[in-house]
Amino acid sequence: MVFYLFCAMFALAAAGYMIGRKRAVDLSTYGSLTLHSRPGYHGAYVALWAGLPSFLFVILWLLFQGSVVDGFLLASLSEARTSGLDSSQIDLLLSEIKAVSAGQIFGEPDKEVLAAAERYASWQGIARWSMVACALALLLFGATVARSRIAPQFRARHGVEKILDGVMIFCSLVAIFTTLGIVASLLFEAFRFFERVPVTEFFFGTRWEPQIAIREDQVAGAGSFGAIPVFAGTLLIAFIAMVVAVPVGLLSAVYLAEYATSRFRSVVKPILEILAGIPTVVYGFFAVLIVAPAVRGFGVNIGVDIAPNSALVAGAVMGVMIIPFVSSFSDDALNAVPQSMREGSFGLGATKSETVLQVLLPAALPGIMGGILLAVSRAIGETMIVVMAAGLIARMTANPLEGVTTVTVQIVTLLIGDTEFDSPKTLAAFALGLVLFVVTLCLNVVALRIVQKYREKYE
């Protein structure tokens, strides 16, 4: 339905283009007047005025139709049916009504639900057809007004270019909207979480047991949301990842930048980049299937008990994924060091390694640090590897052989499956998400600034 509507609107806008163009051509030939803009621009002007407003209208309508109809539906239900229900029960009721109206009837729905389902179906129909009618009316109105403005002296090109400017400005603002959307949704849900759980408990508590009873009779703890062990686990795994990634990445960057022939470099560098292009879910499976049993077997051989979901495995595999980040940032940083510094060092009789260690690395240090900070932010935010290979139980430990959990693991496990937007369990995920976002944002801002400053220094 919506698809056909879009097709029809597109076809009508194209027709508008033809009409506008023809009108402009007619004007110019009959009246022997010269047009200000080429006929195509007149056509485009009509098409844009016809298509754009109605397109935006349909999108907005579709976005808000669901919640508006739900609101009507709820208001139409009798007081007795809805009073005393919390929001999740209301959601359940609404989805039951929708299921009934779609023909999926389970058990015996009561009369009121049946009636509501009928109302829902009819409203859906009304909403849909009024959307189509309004969109087409808007389209025709826009086309008519735009066509009536066509005249030889009409500056259609300026009009079209202004509209395009508007569209482009809107598109570049989408990035801002996205950031605002992230911040607003995280803040809003996190605020609701902190209404239920005190901020101090979240940031300073040392017990993380988010399993709370959903039903009254369920056996579960009261739930405690002290996130310190989760943060500690995240830092431990990120640290292990960096222990793997920084030496390997840095050394390979040094070799690629200073020692390798250009042919070796052109072959090896893309292959290294493949490591960054492999989806993280693949690394997660690799960690579970190959690395964890191997590490565990090694532990048995030397008589150490290693947990199957140890921080070591998750961190090491994550480190492998991060190698290309460190190496390509370090490579860029080393290459940005001016040739004159190398030559100066060689001229004083230093060997290549002395030049690298005592001249190039100190000079490139800001760039390398920026890259490492970006890699740390990547490691903290990485999700799938830890979801598959790290543990679920929050433990306060610095022992890499035990299982720990991370912020991202908790977000995913708290939100997978049925999410109920009222329980602190679900909202806790948003609080964790907020912390994750803020921390990675700070790391990124600092890192990007360092890298940029450093680049300017040698330009």
């Binding site: 598109c171 990035a175 959307g181 693949v282 979801v387």
Partner: protein, 431 residues
Amino acid sequence: MSDLPAINQSVTVDWSSEKAQRRVRRRYGAERRLKWFGLGAIAMALLLLGVLVTSLISVGYTAFVQTHITLPVFIDAAKINPDDPFKGKYRPMVNDAFVNMLSGIDSKADRRLAAKMLSRGASLMLRNSVVDDPAQMGKTVTFTFPMADPIDQLHKGVTPRDVPEDQRRVSDKEIAWYDQLVARGAISKPIAWSLIFSADSRFPELAGLAGAIMGSFYALLVCFLISFPMGIAAAVYLEEFAPKNKWTDIIEVNINNLAAVPSVVFGLLGLAVFLQVFGLPRSAPLVGGLTLSLMTLPTIIIATRASLKAVPPSIREAALGVGASKHQVIMHHVLPLAMPGILTGTIIGLAQALGETAPLLLIGMNAFITSTSGGIVDPATALPTQIFIWADSPERGFVAKTSAAILVLLGFLVTMNAIAIYLRRRFERKW
């Protein structure tokens, strides 16, 4: 400065002395060490990549074939509802035919055990075949059915025979029956097209990727339709039109930061905004595509800006010189010249989006769905989330299936990147 020797005072160093020689040797040793450390680091990274790929291939290749049995089945018309061939006792029919092929079945328990060697999908395949062609009723028709997962693993040699019976998933009896079937030549191992063309299932021998591939396709389609035009428009504005002021600076910083926001945060955004506020359907590729498009947008914007920058100013000046407006310069000349670079960036961005898992998990694209969904608002899974689901499944057969699914995903990624590289090589112009 007084402790330094004066410039004109010549210091004689005996370069051939033992001490000096040792110093030189030490310095050259350090030089070689650094070089070897560097090579070692690269070798280690490449080795890890090699281990990753080879282990996936060595585990996953078995899932590209599937053990089948060639089984003549007598389709007993008496067991089928003549008005509605959909209803009939197909399972006993298949089981009878299968058990009759075997000897040494004495008890009911044996019969049940033997029937389990055949895939649960066999009776459904028989039913579908009869529904398609009711003329088969009353005849004996030869079918090829998949075998159940334990037998499949046995046939592929994944399940070892020489371990005690209680440590493997097939009993001695089943192995004996299986050997009978092999001896009769009834067992074959054709290519498992079902891996690509069937939907998900709880039984590894029936599970396929069709639903996930369609889900990923729709999500990427939505992602492309949104992020490609929007990315180009934003990049053109920022690169060509925007005045240099505080606002454009903020936008720019914003885009760079968005590119580095963890993907799981985008999942939270999708969950809170698209599902909660706008009430879009859960598990739908539409929502997945919207979420992915927000992640892909920065990539496309950055790539587009880079390739716009690469178009030399002389092109712009020439077009402006013959009277084109700024818009015309960009639409008619700069954008077409920058297009190969933009397309390359877009394909790379889409390839990233194809491998993205975490945001799709949060918006529910990890549902168990046994049909290939038809549209962008029907519940579906995507390739990476399907891998995640299968990796979590306990059946032995899913280990190979997961690796095979990963190989399929990597195949798509390699293809997309190869297209991107081809485009770059073919159309890139050095000015």
